[in-house]
Amino acid sequence: MTKKYTYHFCFILFCLLVSSIANAQQINYVRGKVIDKKDKQPIVGASVLLVDKDRRVIKGVSTDVDGNYSLPVVDKTSRITVSYIGYKSTEPLPVDKAVINFQLEPSANQFEDVEIVSRKKSDNGSGMSIDKRDQTSSIGTIDAKELEDMQAASIDQALQGRLAGLDITSNSGDPGAPMQIRIRGTSSINGAVDPLIVVDGMPYDISIPSDFNFATSDENNYGQLLNIAPSDIKDISVLKDAAATAIWGSRAANGVLVINTKRGTMGPPAISYNFKGSYSKQPSAIPMLNGNQYSSLILEEYYNAGRQFSTTDFAKEFQYDPNDPYNYYNYSNNTNWLEAITRIGYLQDHNLSISGGGEKAKYRASLNYFNNKGTTKGTDLGRLSARVNLDYQVSTKIRFSADIVYTHIDNQNLYTLGLRDVAYNKMPNQSVYEYDEYGNLTSNYFSPSNTAQGSFGYDFVKSKISGTYNPLAMAIAANNHQLGERIIPKFSLQYQIIPDRLRFNANFQADINNTKVKTFLPQIATGRPFTDATVNFATDADGDAFTMQSSMTLAFTPALGKKNDLVLFTRFDSYDNRRTGQSMFATNTASSYLADPSIDGRTTAVGSAYSSFAQSRSVGLLLSGQYKFLDRYILNAGIRTDGNSKFGPNNRFGIFPSVSGRWRVSGEPFLKKAKFISDLSLKASYGIVGNAPRNDYSYLNTYQNYGFSYLGMAGVYSSNIELADLRWEKVAQTNVGVTLNLFKNALNMDFDIYRKRTTDLFYQGLSIPTYNGFSGIDMNVGTMDNQGWEFSLNAVPLKRKNLRIDFSFNISHNENIIREISPLYPRENKGKITQNNVYKVYIQENNPFGSFYGFRFKGVYKDADATIARDANGNQIIGPNGEKVYMRFAYPSIDYIFKPGDAMYEDINHDGTIDYKDIVYLGNGNPKLTGGFGTGILLNGNIRFGINFSYRTGYQIINGTKITTTSMYNYNNQSTAVLRRWKAEGDVTDMPRAIYGTGYNFLGSDRYIEDGSYLRLRSLTAKYDFNNKFLKRVGMKGLSANLMVENIFTFTRYTGQDPEVPVKLTAFSTVIDNSTTPPVKTVTLGLTANF
């Protein structure tokens, strides 16, 4: 027994001995001290980590108050590393000593005195990042540094005029109004036309699905579309040619806007606060008649039309009769309605962000609050958004990222977009507030149910507002409130299967986007009697969209020696989008305070409740590769398969190839000596992208219910034609370009020529004979081209120590041409040229879009003699019996004889009658050239001045406001230009006589066509960075203040409100300016502080 114990004891002792011997060679514990390299002070809380060969953390501790640490060592292959925020991390060292001390170098010093030659990596967002100098396709990139001084509420506003080929126009100046973004024109006339927005590698929806029933109060703004706070953006790239967009497949047919947000960087927490506040004012409006001038105009209109006024009740509104005190007080004013609905606008934007991180984890979190009070009363926009971007580096091989974005929108819109037009036209003798019959002004809005001008009308079927109302009452009392909540969580994983050679990347993103729109139209806003169905009309609409997207990429970069570079890339995308919408309305609620449709109203009409569900899915698989030989010859080729649930089984998948190349001429030996050339390259690309239609399920013949039954039986009907034949719309784009960088990139130029050919063009609702039971069908109808060129230039002409000047310039040209179109496609617009205010538009193969035709205006017939018809030689035409022949209009169908004071149109064919044979080409609404330029001056490294212009030239606008404000045809108020109207025989003027409800004084003619060219001083900025000395004293890292003035001048000959009119492209659209809120002049003060 004892023996046994002894034996055991001996064995244990031996073991211990052996292990202690081993300890002498290996280390069980490692300890040491961490100090600052500079001041030799201990660093408290530095993390000391044992890592494996892939830098995966095995164990870690923090240093104590004396900077000491101690760690057990388990695996002898472990290596040790120390990191601390604000210091450079050490390289992993083998644990070969029991005591290892570290001296850390502050990281702030690491870039000191190092000039960085920046070489922009451009990103097409897909994860296949390629050096900008090796790009084979046309991509424009803009750094957020250039944008950050702008006060713009959204990035689309800020991008205006900044990039060649990118055309952005505002729909109106009201808060939350969306911008129209077009990259190289529109490639589809009826399919989707907005470019694809990609944020941090994943597509981002910016359009309100059409199946959300928000159309309860005509067209409206949905402000929460592109609502990324500009200060969170790192850079924006615009992918223009097909080789670049092909990666994104079917949704990228209209170009791609790639946005990358800022992420955390290693270092101590950096806190940044950014404030922008601005003051905006409406530019002066078109001068309108005052009440007295207006009333006399109306009486004259009536007299000229040969009408008796006194028989109608409305006569009282123009009689100024003190014996009728109620009407006298309420209708003898000089109201300026536009002024009544306009105010000074304010904007504030606060942005707080914190970023930083260590070796393992990096973070950036930001909080943004934006509030904009619009210049039209009753409009404002509030937005709160938060964003957290997290990166976690598990090892050198694995990295996780998690991003979460939350946005809350609270947008108060106008009830109807037509408000400003109504204010323009509103009779100025009417009072804003009601007077009682004793002449006392009350605080009630004066909203008569019916005036001479008419009354408010609402078409429940078309959701369309018509007629007139008290604009101020409508702006203030009527409610159109939009609430939006959007949450976008995104997770991604990056795995280096073979470090630096084979990389796998997986992303998953959900997008939960809920929008609620509540509107209410109280009685006082329209003045309609309580029996009218539009009184106390409440709606509530909800739209919830839920999108799930995933992508997987695999990038392979084999080592092929110095001369060859190869990147192979494959990407798989999936997209699933589900939308549910509900809405309901109720009318005639009992009180104007019962503003919710769930309260039973008097009228419950068909369609008072609505709900929808729709889903669409798509998948895409991309195989792509880029090969570079000798740094001179670069070839990129890709092929993408797209599948989309919107097509029938036969046409569901499409295959879209792309190929592009670049020849760096400057790399050739014969140009080696030309040192001043940094890069001279020729680029060419060709690619096809498919475009999917808008509607879901259209390949199925669906049956739907009628809203009522017949004899108690629910009726079902076939609601559509099965679109078995609908195919992908294909956009094939050819691009040829030159890049020239000179003098160490001090002068960069890019020039591109392109042609975007859309074949199998979608057309929605193409007319088919109605004996089929349907009147329209969606079809692939033809071929359309968008062709043009772009040039951009960036230069740094002067770069001294205390003075640096930048200059940038871009210009582009684009035109739309129909090449081939189905015979079923209508060839002219529906308008009848013999009606006032109608222009003709024709479609002709191989001719650009957007041309309009009409009469030529020659002035006004000054007297009866002038109205006598004349032949080509100017001699009066005498009839067979010697009688005088007067000019006629549209003989024989209308056969109106022109009277003195009528508008005179040119009788092109001298046949004595003005009709469709006399119409001529008047203009085209597509700009010939668009672009912008700007310059920046940096003084002493801390004072910056910037100036930016945007311009458009070579297009004509139909001045719609001029038509409506000088027509003198009805009760609408007119501009002061009509004061020079023809009044009596012999008057020589260019303004025809006033005539109520008849005559042909405002036919579509060149009288209203104006050159829309403009040059706009878009912004002027001054920025001051406080110097380091001052900052040290106050303990800050950075502080800057800036001042910016926007929309200062517009140099134009256009006489309307604003020549920047968005072109809504359909084949027959004309560019008509109906003067919504013009771009407001804004002064912004900004402040940025970094801690």
Partner: protein
């Protein structure tokens, strides 16, 4: 390594492509697809009900006038019983002035063809249900098909009477690949098709659905007979017309109600009376939608009013005692003298009065007209008119005494009486045209006399001249149809 990547990517591609096919196959949740429909007899009933509902209103999302509105306008606006109201559109005023061009907005025929397409859909797909639903009997299926055939025939009959030659489409439109352009078919061919279809429908149609409201609101055998009688008379086939009328009269299911204060309420306001053979049921109690007439005829901004001619010549006040002795169809029931409003379809907003398609008096007078042209039938015809007049309390001033041998005189009497009996029921224009066009427009004078009453004095002569060209009695094909179909040729009068 490359090999591995290649094979992995190939596998991934194959898997994704095959599973994607399923993943991309999405079905709508609202609405039923054609493949999911046509499974049971209830589906057929729902689709047939859809054909009826399409008579009352356009389907949701289709921006068009209700079919009833077209039927009303086509039957009245070119005749002499209504005039333009304060809110009549420019195009409607042009029709009143007999100044119709191909862009006129009353000319689109889409509403008729929409209902035709719904009927065609039933006719194409309902027979297939037989295989899937064993509980569907042949009789039941034939009854449903008869309803669709009768409604389709009724629509084509309207088209023939308004446009003469129209495209004849007898199959449903459900797929874009099936679309093809059609030419116009001659009116005679369409009328023969109608007769053939109605004969088929007569064989399958039921005599009753077991409830009075359904018997009146849905197509029965008697509806088919009434329609056939009307068609035969239009084709001047008098003996066949009389045969069809006899079938209805001999069934003993219909009777003229007595002239008393509740007559209007029974026959029109409540509907489904013993007088009615077929009506479009608008009654709220059955879940139907209101009729379209409040906006058209009653509200302050009405589009149509009763023509002065109705007040002075159609319903002539009794010269002795107009207060106690009056036609029950006149002032206060069909119209009101105070503002010329047509109140036959109710004055409420909204109003639910049914649209009367065929009543027993219609059949009686169709028979009378056919008898007038049948040797020896003259006296019988006059007797029928007098019976109706008696029941309606017609005043003596409007009585006529045509000789039993004078078919034209009897015809005039029938026309006058039909104007009273079916005032504002969308029949007047066809009555005038039918009589005028008989025997190669022997009595075109009726139309010329009528037009001289209705159009504005300024355009009277040109209107009469236009009417002398018999092609102008039919409407032009709307220009949008001509754009959409290259084979379609404009009707003769409108080609200039």
């Amino acid at each position: 390594m490359k090999k591995i990547i290649y094979s992995i990517s190939m596998i991934v591609m194959l898997i994704t492509v095959s599973s994607c096919r399923k993943w991309l196959d999405l079905q709508p949740r609202d609405g039923i697809t054609r493949a999911g429909f046509w499974k049971t007899k209830e589906d057929i009933q729902a689709a047939v009900a859809g054909c009826y509902t399409s008579l009352l209103a356009p389907p949701p999302g289709v921006n068009d006038k209700a079919l009833t509105e077209y039927i009303f306008m086509y039957g009245e606006i070119r005749a002499d019983m209504i005039s333009a109201g304060p809110n009549a559109t420019e195009d409607e005023k042009n029709v009143f002035d007999n100044n119709i061009v191909q862009s006129n907005t009353i000319t689109p025929w889409a509403a008729f063809y929409r209902t035709i397409n719904y009927c065609n859909t039933v006719l194409d797909f309902a027979p297939g249900v037989k295989e899937k639903d064993p509980t569907l009997t042949d009789a039941q299926l034939n009854a449903y098909l008869s309803e669709a055939l009768a409604l389709r025939s009724m629509m084509y009959f309207y088209l023939v009477r308004n446009f003469r030659d129209v495209p004849l489409k007898l199959t449903s439109t459900s797929k874009d690949t099936d679309l093809s352009e059609l030419e116009k078919s001659p009116a005679a061919k369409i009328l023969n098709q109608i007769v053939e279809d109605l004969k088929r429908a007569e064989a399958g149609a039921v005599t009753t659905y077991g409830s009075t409201v359904s018997d009146k609101g849905r197509v029965t055998k008697f509806t088919v007979n009434a329609l056939l009688a009307d068609v035969y008379l239009w084709m001047d086939n008098y003996s066949a017309c009389i045969t069809e009328c006899k079938k209805i009269i001999d069934s003993q299911r219909f009777a003229i109600q007595n002239a008393n204060s509740s007559w209007y309420n029974n026959v029109f306001y409540n509907g489904s009376s013993t007088e009615t053979i077929f009506e479009f049921n608008n009654q709220q109690s059955t879940g139907a939608t209101n009729n379209i007439f409040y906006n058209l005829l009653i509200q302050a901004k009405k589009r149509f009013i009763a023509a002065p001619y109705v007040l002075t010549d159609v319903f002539v006040p009794d010269d002795l005692d107009p207060v106690r002795n009056f036609d029950i169809r006149g002032n206060g029931t069909f119209y009101r003298t105070s503002d010329f409003s047509i109140i036959k379809y109710g004055i409420e907003n909204p109003s639910y009065v049914n649209w009367q398609a065929y009543r027993i008096t219609d059949v009686l007078m169709l028979e009378a007209e056919a008898l007038a042209f049948t040797p020896g039938g003259g006296q019988q015809a006059v007797d029928i008119i007098n019976t109706i007049r008696q029941k309606r309390n017609a005043v003596a001033v409007t009585a006529q005494t045509p000789s039993p041998e004078d078919a034209d005189a009897i015809c005039d009497y029938i026309l006058a009486e039909r104007a009273r009996e079916f005032a504002f029921e969308g029949k007047r224009w066809y009555d005038l045209l039918r009589v005028a066009k008989r025997d190669n427009y022997r009595r075109i004078g009726i139309l010329l006399e009528m037009i001289s009453r209705t159009v504005s004095p300024a355009v009277q002569q040109s209107a009469i001249n236009k009417f002398k060209d018999v092609n102008s009695h039919y409407l032009p094909i709307n220009e949008s149809e001509l754009f959409a179909d290259s084979k379609l040729v404009q009707n003769p009068f409108y080609t200039k």
